[in-house]
Amino acid sequence: MKLGVHKLELQRGGKTLCRDFSAEFKTGQCWGVLGPNGAGKSTLLHCLAGLYPAQRGNVELNGQTLGTIPRRALARQLGILLQASVHGFPATVMETVLQGRHPHLRAWEWESESDRRLARTTLRRVGLETLVERRIDTLSGGEHQRMAIATLLTQDPSFMLLDEPVNHLDLHQQIRILEDLGTMSGTENKLVMMVLHDVNLTQRFCDHVILVHGDGEITAGPVAELMSSENLSRLYAHPMQSLPGPHGPIYVPG
């Protein structure tokens, strides 16, 4: 299964973020999205999720144009972790995570025991099993972020787009979550695509990378081909050096 973009052009606030971008993202791959602030990483992710219209070109899910797929059907196959979340009225962690099952249930259906089991499993997966009945307005930033990831895992789509999944997470949780997402793409045959700000985490956990320059130029390809100190220096407009490390090269800003 694949998500494809064809001659994509994206604009936001009068600025062209992406021009003539064509690429193919397949399940089983783990993509990192890198780029400076305001380059259009989130806009690209939103566009791939059908939440932001392309100026030109189109996005296809398994050959079908994204706009022609009904939202509910799309949400069963493709899910996104948004960067900002809105607190509604008070709800518990369990209730919120169960909302991931929304596209799988008919309007009048209630969550079944197997939906609850799945939610409990994903909460264990992100290390929140002790907070199941907690109210979400009492969670810390990192706990809230892991709950949002658990909601996406409960939605259980084949295509998972994550906008800065390691935001607010401590060092241990960053590695733990990224390790899980990275292996998951292979073992559960999912496409994982995540916006990251840490080039070394990208180098370590992703097999493919998208470099979003912010002036319309976007390049996509395998980590081994695209990640280099020259490319990264140009991307961030900041000198980068590469040093040998335990999981491949380590990039250090100069």
Partner: protein
């Protein structure tokens, strides 16, 4: 299981409210006489008081309270704002201006109700058209348009009150504060309420998702634009109906949804029917008090909903925090 107990308790509360309302008043009627009157075996005065005065008024009070509560809960979701109430977008303002104009023209009864309902619909359409702009229908824009128009209606109301002859003022003020005394029972508000309650289990989960923000709702597969149109239409229709029947009774639509959230959480599949029952009962009790507390004089029921509701809500809010 917890939910069944909750609904059993709420239904009991409703029943107690109904019985209290039917038995109390300037003419004391016993429970047995109420039963006789309802089963058509009563005699003379009691039968007439119960069937022709108290029953229509009690039913109307319950329906109005329930409709206002549903409208308030829906508006709070639509605007994602806990301060929203059924009147926040000016539906009642439009109804009030039309009703006051009708009163100044010397109209009453059904014509007055018709004017109020038309005014409410006009206000609804006005907000909808103006907030729609070019394609975008954002929560922010809807809220601002509605609040500004509501302020405009408020100014018109003051203007009309200033113009009105002294003899008409008390009637107009009673209408504005919310008053159930002219209530005659017609079945369509009840049918509307039942339709609203029947939709709750279908809409509830989507409402829970919508509260999480427009993008998140779309990401979870919700056609949020269509749902928001539907909520807007439903809430406006409920409000228009309630205002038509009883004027603008404040407080119920704002506070009862929150009261219910404090009691049972914010799953709208439970919240909508539960808060409707609670809102209906609260207004039923308030109206019984309004017509008995300083009998034979009657108080506007809107005054009592606030007098009962404020302490009740504050106590629950304090308890919830601990």
């Amino acid at each position: 299981m917890r939910h069944w107990l909750l609904f059993a308790a709420l239904l009991t509360l409703t029943l107690i409210g109904l019985v209290t309302s039917l038995t109390s008043g300037s003419l004391s009627v016993s429970l047995y006489e109420v039963w006789q009157a309802l089963s058509g075996e009563g005699s003379g005065l009691e039968q007439r008081v119960v069937l022709e005065l108290r029953l229509p008024r009690s039913l109307t009070a319950f329906v109005v309270g329930a409709l206002l509560t549903l409208a308030g809960a829906l508006m709070q979701v639509l605007l994602r704002n806990p301060l929203a109430d059924p009147y926040v977008l000016g539906v009642s303002g439009g109804a009030a201006v039309a009703a006051l104009l009708a009163m100044l023209a010397g109209l009453g009864g059904l014509l007055l109700q018709g004017a109020a309902f038309s005014g409410a619909l006009l206000a609804t359409l006005l907000v909808f058209t103006l907030s729609h702009g070019r394609g975008q229908w954002t929560t922010q824009r809807l809220l601002l348009t509605g609040v500004v128009l509501a302020a405009g209606w408020g100014a018109l109301i003051s203007f009309l009150l200033a113009l009105a002859p002294g003899t008409q003022l008390p009637g107009m003020l009673f209408w504005l504060m919310g008053d159930l005394s002219p209530a005659r029972f017609t079945p369509w508000p009840l049918l509307l309420l039942l339709a609203g309650l029947a939709m709750a289990p279908f809409l509830g989960r989507s409402l829970n998702i919508l509260v999480r923000g427009e993008l998140q709702a779309q990401a979870l597969g919700l056609d949020q634009v269509r749902l928001r149109y539907l909520i807007y239409v439903l809430a406006s229709l409920f409000t228009a109906t309630a205002v038509t029947l009883a004027g603008s009774i404040g407080f119920v639509g704002l506070v009862v949804p929150h009261l219910t959230r404090l009691l049972i959480g914010s799953d709208h599949r439970i919240l909508l029917p539960a808060s409707a029952l609670l809102g209906g009962s609260l207004l039923l009790f308030a109206d019984t008090l309004a017509r008995t507390i300083i009998a034979p004089q009657q108080l506007p029921v809107g005054v009592l909903t606030a007098l009962i509701g404020v302490p009740l809500f504050l106590v629950l809010l304090q308890r919830g925090r601990n």
